[in-house]
Amino acid sequence: MDRSYLAKRLLHALIIAWGVMTASFFLMRIGPHSPADKYLATLGAGHNVSQVTAAIESRYGVDRPLYEQYFNYINSLLHGDWGWSFSTSMPVSDLIKIHWAYSFQLIFLSSILAIILGISLGIFTAARKNTKADHIATFFSFAGISIPNFWLGMMLILIFSVKLGWFKTYYDTGLPMFSLSNLYALILPVITLATGMVAGYGRFVRSSMLENMNKDFVRTARAKGLPESVVLRKHVFRNALLPVVTIIMLDMSGIIFGGAYITEFIFGIPGLGWMSLKAVFSDDYSVVMAVTLIGAFVTLFFNLVADIAYTYLDPRIRYE
């Protein structure tokens, strides 16, 4: 991977980030909502609603013409200013600083678990292709992929929290982040988020393994007299890993902004997903914009990482 390629990729990423930013900026503002909405119901007799609305909109800087707001926003972004969150009354950057960790620990733990379990499941089932164990595992993978994670979360709460009382029904932010009790508290959320990932990765690894098992070089490896475990681990798996790495990387953003969102919602984890959901409902533009942009950057970052990882893992690309 030479420098000009990297530069090209970065430029491409920037264009896409700009596109996402612009799209969400205008999407948020063409709707009929205004941050002054929350005051509408309380505006009693004797008030000139439009005057108060105007004052409130000017307070949050949303009274300017759209293009002006747009350029102002870009300008402040370039100066590292993410804006002011008027539904939480704090700078968006502070909000993110406080809340990202809750999302991160959930996503990190789930991903690690899903990668370990998913890959093991994939190797296990591929090595036992068409056996009973494989069929059972395949069925459970399908189930894991198909189970709606919001329902899964609810069922876990119903069974393990409400009926059995093993866990709290909500996530307790009072726990120190690096403690066993915090890890324990994250068990149900992580299961909720990771189940679909484990099943998906498992299936993907399995099919990637099977595809590579039919490759001639695997037969070559066996013909050399290598033990089957070495054949699987070295020749099949290392090759099967290539597309898996890509899929996992590309999947990351989907997980963060799909599953993690919902998981935070169910368990009351005040992560970025939940914050942005609340922000949508409060017409808090800057928070939604920031989370969207972070999401886009994370996605683009993982795309880039996938690319680099691919290059690292696949000498055919590395040396071109």
Binding site: I16, L27, H33, W151, V288, T292
Partner: protein, 302 residues
């Protein structure tokens, strides 16, 4: 038609795909004729609140005029409401049937829309190439990069929670996969002899696109569509679950959303629609995978 019969024959060999197909057919039939046999899903009956399903019993608080306060009653499931009732005494069976209609409608229409948009964008991008391709693909990239659920939530929140809008927004945001697939398939077809031949014969771009390029990608599109339907169904359910569903319809997500607050008093409200969702989604996944295998020319082995 012969080809269809051939693929059907191949599909028959796949047990899980057939199970999936059977459940989908059952669901469609239920959604179509079920409402004629059940009570209205909005019919409330406050004296039959929170009835458990058949075979279960549950302790419920009720106001008793005699006592002038609350009394605990042990409620048993009745055949009148085989799947129980919700907190307003509405029949859950009929709500679930109504939910099946909603889910199938969303799944089919939203996916259909996404496929049409995706196919048009994908095929034009590949066929015209050059600048058109770059612009369309950058646009696709932007759409892919946009956090999908957040985008959906934004649109639905902004413009109102009606079923039509939900379907439209799922369709409008879900086409990127199709576009990429159709584009890559078309790219590989574009240089094939028959396309070049018809170009040489003076066929118009549209004709080439509709008569030569699209039909040749149809099997991949069918597989993708089948596998996308659960995504659309889940997207609607997720939206409803977080409170952005169309409040006028009893969709599974809406019932789940309501059930979430009743987990202690009436667990079945949250359990039942989830089971339906799960079976529906897994059926489409089974069928989709089966179709993929059936269409796969390498799939003869085993």
């Amino acid at each position: 038609m012969k080809l269809a019969a051939y693929y059907l024959e191949r599909l028959k060999g796949n047990k899980t795909a057939i199970i999936g197909l059977a459940f989908i057919i059952f669901l469609v039939l239920t959604a179509l004729i079920g409402p004629f046999f059940t009570v209205s899903p909005t019919q409330v009956n406050f004296s039959e609140k929170n009835l458990p399903p058949i075979g279960f019993s549950s302790e419920q608080s009720e106001y008793s005029a005699k006592v002038g306060g609350l009394v605990m009653t042990n409620m048993h499931g009745t055949w009148k409401h085989p799947l129980g009732t919700d907190g307003m005494g509405r029949d859950l069976l009929s709500q679930l049937i109504s939910g099946a209609r909603v889910s199938l409608l969303v799944g089919l229409l939203a996916t259909g829309l996404a496929i049409v948009i995706g196919a048009i964008i994908g095929v034009s991008s590949a066929y015209f190439g050059g600048i058109a391709d770059s612009i369309l693909m950058r646009f696709t990239d932007i759409m892919i990069t946009f956090p999908f659920l957040l985008l959906l939530i934004l649109i639905v929140y902004m413009f109102g929670s009606s079923l039509a809008l939900i379907i439209l927004s799922i369709g409008l945001t879900g086409w990127t996969g199709t576009a990429r697939l159709v584009r890559s398939e078309t790219l590989s077809l574009r240089t094939r002899d028959f396309v070049i031949a018809s170009k040489a014969l003076g066929a118009s771009d549209l004709r080439i696109i509709f008569y030569h390029l699209l039909p040749n990608t149809i099997s991949s599109i069918i597989v993708l569509a089948t596998l996308s339907i659960p995504g659309a169904i889940l997207a609607e359910a997720a939206l409803s679950f977080i409170g952005l569903g169309d409040p006028q319809v009893a969709s599974w997500g809406n019932i789940l959303n309501a059930g979430q607050n009743d987990l202690q008093a009436a667990w079945w409200i949250a359990v039942e629609p989830g089971i339906m969702l799960f079976f529906t989604v897994i059926s489409f996944n089974f069928l989709g995978e089966g179709l993929r295998d059936a269409f796969d020319p390498k799939g003869d082995y085993n």
